[in-house]
Symmetry: C2
Subunit: 230 residues, 2 copies
DNA sequence: ATTCTCTCAATACGATGTATCGCAGCAGAA
DNA sequence: TTCTGCTGCGATACATCGTATTGAGAGAAT
């Protein structure tokens, strides 16, 4: 057989490591949301059969965990924060921005304990920033509380964003004018306070709302830190 | 044909309304979690074929929305709260207890805007309790902030609970002793603050942690209410 | 050279959400 | 009374999913 007839060397498929798998999954999720991610499609992106993946992950849930930890690498601040407030504040902001870049993160945030190396690293620098200013227990409570806040706030923000996108209406228009169901409900008169809020409340954009709430919570933490009795 | 031969009157299947569908779905979810809920299984509980359901809901997501709203009926307090702090506090507690009764609620909480009648009713009494003590905008910010906190906190609590259950270990034992991955990571010395926290921190049960964070956030709200400049 | 083992991926399976389609039963007209 | 049309419901069908099983093929060992 001449050289020209020699078949491709079996196209030895790219060695395929965890990193590439996770990257492919994240790309898919960025494009089509979490349920755009199927093991088959991830594998297809890597020119592999679905079962190839099971050498590197043992379940789809594990893949999600790896994706989350990969995003925690984006969240981890590059420089050490100045004080505790900056540490918690930038953690909140960086998480929010990561979720805006990867909306699927909102679906996963808080759904399972995050124990990947990057998540742990984030926890480490955050706790370290609080260490000097509070006892361990207070520090953990502070991290938990602030974390709970921004987790919940981010989820709501993404949820609203999707709802607006799905109806093609801004939150303002949607609430005020045509969100048909809500309008009808408010018109029943059974929800006067809600109706007034929707009608008279000033529209604040999501970022400002996030910021306000965050400041409040950080103020609360500050109060407990200066008077470390609680 | 004699009476005895007459076939069953075709066992006219029970008329099947939304309420019964949602109840069946909730029962399934309570037993087997959210992915124990399939339209086929829900229908089977009601002696119906899967497609019967599509007369009452048009998508599985709608069923989830209905389930959530049904739980909001449990969350809605029966008596009008005394003051704003009680309103927000009991809302948080009742939501948490609902999530402990229906763990799947944690997966859905904050995932989509809750616009069902019961959710609106909850929003109504909450806002109403704040109306007298703050302007609309401050009131909404307060509800959002506290809501974000307890949403996130509940999700984390349920997530931890499941993790403990899955490993068969209490959080204490799991962190301290055998959570193999975490222990190994902490042993690397790359996470001194975390390691110290796990090692020296006092164990607080989930309820106490929830309570503490909630108090902090409510204190923060109180501070903004008395000095309504912000 | 031959056999054996072990790895890896193709095939197979049961389950899912939902579109489609066909039939049963009834209302009305001849 | 019989025929015809219609309507609404549910059985069947389909594409897709996560993952178990299995079979083939490469490399090692005798």
């Amino acid at each position: 057989m001449s050289v020209w007839d020699r078949p491709e060397p079996l196209a030895r498929p790219v060695p395929l490591d965890q990193e590439r798998i996770v990257a492919a999954a994240i790309a898919l999720a960025d494009e089509g949301g979490l349920d755009g991610v199927s093991l088959r499609k991830v594998a297809a992106r890597l020119n592999a059969g679905p079962m190839r993946l099971y050498g590197y992950i043992s379940t789809k849930q594990e893949l999600f965990d790896l994706m989350v930890d990969e995003v925690y690498a984006e969240i981890l601040p590059q420089e050490q924060p100045g004080d505790w407030r900056e540490a918690l504040g930038t953690l909140a902001h960086r998480t929010r921005h990561a979720a805006l870049r990867h909306e699927w993160l909102a679906d996963l945030l808080g759904g399972r304990p995050a124990l990947g190396p990057n998540a742990l690293a984030v926890g480490e620098v955050t706790l370290a920033a609080l260490e000097s200013v509070a006892g361990i227990d207070t520090a953990m409570r502070a991290v938990e509380t602030v974390g709970a806040y921004f987790t919940g706030a981010i989820r709501r923000e993404i949820a609203n964003l999707r709802a607006e996108r799905a109806t093609g209406l801004s939150k303002h228009d949607w609430q005020r004018a045509s969100g048909p169901h809500l309008t009808r409900m408010l018109a029943t008169g059974r929800f006067p306070a809600l109706a007034k809020a929707v009608h008279d409340g000033t529209d604040v954009d999501a970022e400002a709302s996030f910021e306000t709430g965050l400041d409040w919570v950080l103020d609360a933490v500050a109060a407990k830190l200066t008077r470390p009795s609680a």
